[in-house]
Structures are given as structure tokens and as C-alpha cells.
Amino acid sequence: MIRNLGRNLTSWTAAIAAAVALVGTPVAVRADETCQSPYMPKITGEEEYVYVWTLGVEGLGDGSDKLVTVDVRKGSPTHGQVIHSVSVGGRHEAHHADFTDDRRFLWASGLDTSQIFVFDVQTDPAKPRLVKTIDDFVQVSGGVVGPHGFYALPGRMLVGGLSNAKDKTGRTALVEYTNEGRHIETHWMPTDADPRGAVIEKVADGYGYDARVLPRKNVMFTTSFTGWDNYMRDLGQVLQDAEAMKRFGQTAAVWNFHTRQPKKVFHVPGAPLEVRIAWGPTHNYAFTTTALTSQIWLIHEDARGEWQAKAVGDIGDPKKIPLPVDISLSADDRTLWVDSFMDGMVRAFDVSDPFKPKQMYEKQIGRQLNMVSQSWDGKRLYFTSSLIARWDKQGADNEQFLKAYTWDGSELRDRFALDFTALKLGRPHVMRFGSAALYK
């Protein structure tokens, strides 16, 4: 058959074309954390380590921001324990972190000092090493402040900013780096004054928060939070300051990813934060939630091929401002986990019909709650407590923990819990999964 194919160029071309077309529908075999860049290698078994980017607390331990390794290997004598921590010196408002596309390095940032810390997680995945510090982010980016999220692209890192050096509001940009840490380009968020070709629904505030890509549709989604002048201020003061409350994001945007050109700015009031894109091969939508208005929003492609944003449900009682923060979408696109900071609750929504989320479960994890990470099979969930140093609760409500659970489809069951204050570590924020088997 192959020989016959080979005797005719047209057929041969068709064979290649067929192969290309067929391989376009790959079978996904992954068991990694959901909600990560699709460009990275994936863990196909269980995670072995959870890396926790942790804010330092003055007078607690060494007082510095640090990357903490928690052992979650099955059968390990140190399962559920902290087995390593590497401090970066000083407090930088540790927040988010993520891997490069080759998954050899973890980039982690400080929202206050705008420094980026690069850890080698390949050489010894149990003991990440700080190998590089980028301390000229503001200068090389042209005035972006508060490097926030990291999103792996082939050979590059996409860094979403939160603020700017000029006025410290939420006006900001996306910044691209090579994996080696060289600045490539800065893309400022579209504004009313400079929409850069985008259609604006109501307003283009130029604010930023998350940035995620759906390669199949060549689109990127961005959301909006607030600037340095708010996130580095006591939350109680911010909430009582009417002018400060006006300086929260009220937009999400869809971009042409390949050209990095914004196409449309949606009006999504109340600070839309994390973006979670559906994985299904025909699921052309993403979820986000609004911190101040406690709503689930769906960004979706309509029948005409246009992207739209629509509020599709409430989270708890919005009047009580539960403050939804991190979210996690299951790999089958059926369950959306939503953490809310103020009431310490996690709620699971059935989002089989993305236009009609139905809450199916809730549990209070602690007195305050922020981040959630789930395994690809949906069976293991991890939670941490800290939002932002000046926004965390005070006194006894200021619990700082990592808690691990198993999910059996109806109940979250305890696996282990770590008290980051008792361990003199600090305020745990984002979690990322590691595995030594990635590098063998």
C-alpha cells in the first residue's frame, strides 16, 4: 500500500495531508493539574510534590518569601509534610508562579517589588533552587508594575502585570520574556483612548489580571483587577474609600493571540479574576468570576462566531460579598470549583450546561480561603488561605494553611493539613504540581 501511494505524487501529498488531518485530533492522556498552559509537558500519573509560593511574615521564621515543597508522594514516609523551602530574601508580596514550557523552571513573582524569581525544579524536583532574579522588570517593560501571572508559551513566558509605575492604578500590560529571561515585548491593555482596534462594549479600563490562550481558536482572554495603590493598602481602608473602589477592573477582553491584537473589550463589572478555559474539543468557552459582585461569567463563542460575555450565575449571596477568588475547572468541563475568601467556602458548580451553573456542593475549608488546585482526574484538591498580605484577616481569623482533600464525587474528605504559621513559613498562596518523573 505504501509503495502504491509512493508512485503518485498527488496521492502521496494526500497521504501526508491525511496524516496531518488525523493527528489533529489527539487523544489526551494526562493526569496533571487542570487549568495550566497547554504548551507544557504534563504529568501523566499523580503529582509528587506541591510547590507553594509563600509570603513571608515579619517575625515568623526567617520572615522572607519562600518556595515551599510539600511531599505528596504515595507511600512516602514524609507524605503530607514540608520537605524543603527556599527563601528569596525579603518580602515582595509573593503571589503567583508557573512553569516554563519545558517545565524545567518555575517563575514566581512579587507584586510589590516587581521582582521575578526563577527556580530550577528539574535538577532536584524535591528541592527547587533559586537560579535567577529578574529585578529590572519595571524598566525593561516600559513601566509595568506587579508581575502577576505566568503563562508558558513555546520558548517564552507571558507575564501579566497588575499596575504601572506612572500612577500605580490598574492600567497595565502583558509582558513577554524568553525562557532565558530576556524581555521581548510589552503589550499594553486596550483603553478608551487607545483601543488598538478593539470593539469596546462600554469601557476599556486598561486593567489586567489573568491571561490564557485557546490555541484552537487563536484567542486569548484577559481579565482585570486593581493596581498597586489598592492591593498594597489595607483592605478595610480600600473598602471604605469610594474613590479607591472605583479603581477596580470592570473588563474582560478577547484577543487575536497570534497577532497579540485585542478584538473586543467586554463589560464585566466587579473585578473578573481567574480565567478557566474549557478543555473539550468543541467547547468554545471560558469561565471567570467577579470578586466584588460574586458572579460566574461565561465568555463564549456564539453561533455567528462572535465572542460574548454573559453573567450566568451567583456565588453564594452576593450581598454578603463572599469575595470569590480562585476557581478550578475539572478536566471533563463538568465541575467548577469556586473559592471565596470572606466566608472561607468552596462551592462546586455543575457546569455541564455552561449557561446554567448549578451549585451541587459546598464546604467551609477555613476562616479565610484563596487558592485551589485540582488534579487532572478530579480526585485530589488542594487549598491555601492567603489572598494578599494586607487583605488577609486579622487575629484568630488569620488562619494560614494548606489543606489537601480527596473528592469522591459527593464529598471532600480530609487527606492532610499543614499550619503554615505553626511551621513558621508564612502565608501560602499559589500551588503548582511537580514530579521527578518528568525529567527521567
Binding site: I2, R3, L5, G6, R7, N8, L9, T10, W12, T13, A14, A15, I16, A17, A19, V20, A21, L22, V23, G24, T25, P26, A28, V29, P38, Y39, M40, P41, K42, I43, T44, G45, E46, D101, D102, R104, L153, P154, G155, R156, E176, T178, N179, E180, R182, I184, E185, P215, R216, K217, N218, V219, N256, H258, T259, Q261, S435, A437, Y439, K440
Partner: protein
């Protein structure tokens, strides 16, 4: 527990597809026969037919790339970093510098190893380069300005002779662009090239026959030998590559004015 790189992730499921791609690409006597002896319709008809098919594919949306590619020149491609140089061997075994191979044209560079059986890996990259190559047959200017380069990262197996066999994917140059097939003399010569491009390759411990695992990477390089884009599996769309190549060519024309 097992892990796989992006390109190796679907190996088992895609073995049959890989066979199609690899053997189609490899098929030894395949392309020269078709191009050298056109039969009753002559080579010109075969060329036209192949070009029409390739061009059709370059226009069509697919489930994998469900969008219209951007108009060339309607966007900028930033400089990512310098394209690394290094010592290579061409398919005749002649030692050359990679920088010399890259000189003078816009280049699409693909790292592969010829034993790769992952349909989402090297065969896919080579098939996409084939589509670009076919597209240049209908565009003499593109054919003159573009060069395709396939470089093996498996020098222990991919000798110059192996690259000659693999190169039969590329029909002899008629009106198409140049396409060079390179390897290196040793892992030692290869290492700085891989490091310079950031092409990750791992050789599984204890299983040398299995071949290296790697992240699928294709690089777009301008005439100044600077990397202007890097493509992984999720963006290895020949329509995007073609739009990017034409964007660089338009940039060149504007610079010369």
C-alpha cells in the same frame, strides 16, 4: 508513575497514524519517481495537482486550527533572540556552519530525529514543512526568499546518509524553495545548538533504542539570523507559518524602500 513530554504524550494512541506519516515521508523511492517520471500527464500536471491540494489545505480551517489566519503584514513579529550558530554536516557529509546555511533567506528551521514515530512529533513537523514547500511552487518570489531547514538532534543514528534518505520527502528543486537536511558530527557539537535554540531533548535512561523525547519546536528566522517566532504543537499551522514568512518578507521590502 509515568510521564511523557508534549510530543510523546500520545505515542501509544497515535502509533498507527505515525506509521502513515513516517512511511509516507520516508517512502524511499517515492518522490523522485513521481517527480522524475510524470507519466501520461507529465510532471507539470502532478505539480499542479499537488500544489492545488497543498494550497487548499493552506486555506482551510480545521478542527485543530479553527480560525482564519491573520493577513500577512497586518501585525508585527518581535525579535525573540539571536538564532544560534554551530557546526553541522549537510546531507553530503560536508562540514558547514549553521549560520552559513541560514544566511540570506527567511528560514523555517525544524528539529527532528528520523526514527520518530510520534504522529504529533517529527512526522508532523516534516509534513508541515512539506506543505510550505509545496506552496512555494506557485509563488516564485516566496520560493526565492524562503529556505526550509531540517536538523536532526540524533547524530548517533542520523548520519548524513540517513538524512539523504529522509530528504526524499522533498521533491527535487524545480520551482520550489530550498530545503536542506542537516545533522551534526556528535552530541558534543549538537549540544550548544540545542541550548542556543532552547530545544529540549531528553534521552531516556536505560533505553537508548527508544530514541530521544523532545518538545516539538519549529523556528522562524529572519535574514538577520534572529528568531522571530517559535511554534509548538498547538500552533504548528502551515497557514500561520506562511503568514509569518510573508510578514517578514513584507518587512524586508519596506526596509529596503
Amino acid at each position: 508513575m509515568t510521564t511523557r513530554t508534549q510530543s510523546g504524550a500520545r505515542r501509544a494512541a497515535s502509533r498507527a497514524l505515525a506509521l502513515v506519516a513516517v512511511l509516507s515521508v520516508w517512502g524511499g523511492a517515492v518522490a523522485p519517481l513521481a517527480w522524475g517520471h510524470g507519466g501520461p500527464h507529465g510532471p507539470a500536471a502532478s505539480v499542479r495537482s499537488a500544489v492545488v491540494e497543498a494550497e487548499d489545505q493552506l486555506r482551510a480551517r480545521s478542527a485543530r486550527f479553527d480560525f482564519d489566519p491573520p493577513r500577512p503584514g497586518s501585525y508585527r513579529l518581535p525579535v525573540v533572540k539571536p538564532a544560534a550558530d554551530g557546526a553541522v554536516l549537510d546531507a553530503s557529509g560536508r562540514p558547514r556552519r549553521l549560520g552559513e546555511v541560514l544566511a540570506g533567506r527567511v528560514v523555517v528551521l525544524s528539529f527532528i530525529y528520523t526514527r520518530c514515530s510520534d504522529a504529533n512529533g517529527c512526522p508532523l513537523a516534516t509534513a508541515v514543512l512539506y506543505q510550505l514547500h509545496a506552496a512555494t511552487a506557485a509563488d516564485p518570489e516566496l520560493a526565492r526568499q524562503l529556505k526550509l531547514v531540517t536538523l536532526s538532534f540524533d547524530p548517533g543514528h542520523d548520519t548524513p546518509e540517513a538524512m539523504v534518505r529522509y530528504s526524499r520527502v522533498a521533491p527535487p528543486r524545480d520551482t520550489r524553495s530550498a530545503w536542506e537536511f542537516l545533522t551534526t558530527a556528535s552530541d558534543r557539537q549538537l549540544a550548544p545548538i540545542l541550548a542556543g535554540y532552547g530545544q529540549r531533548v531528553q534521552r531516556p535512561a536505560g533505553a537508548p533504542a527508544a530514541g530521544p523525547t523532545h518538545l516539538l519546536r519549529v523556528y522562524l528566522i529572519d535574514r538577520q539570523q534572529r528568531i522571530r517566532n517559535i511554534y509548538g504543537l498547538d500552533f504548528l499551522d502551515p497557514r500561520l507559518l506562511l503568514a509569518d514568512v510573508r510578514t517578514l518578507l513584507q518587512e524586508d521590502r519596506e526596509t529596503r524602500r
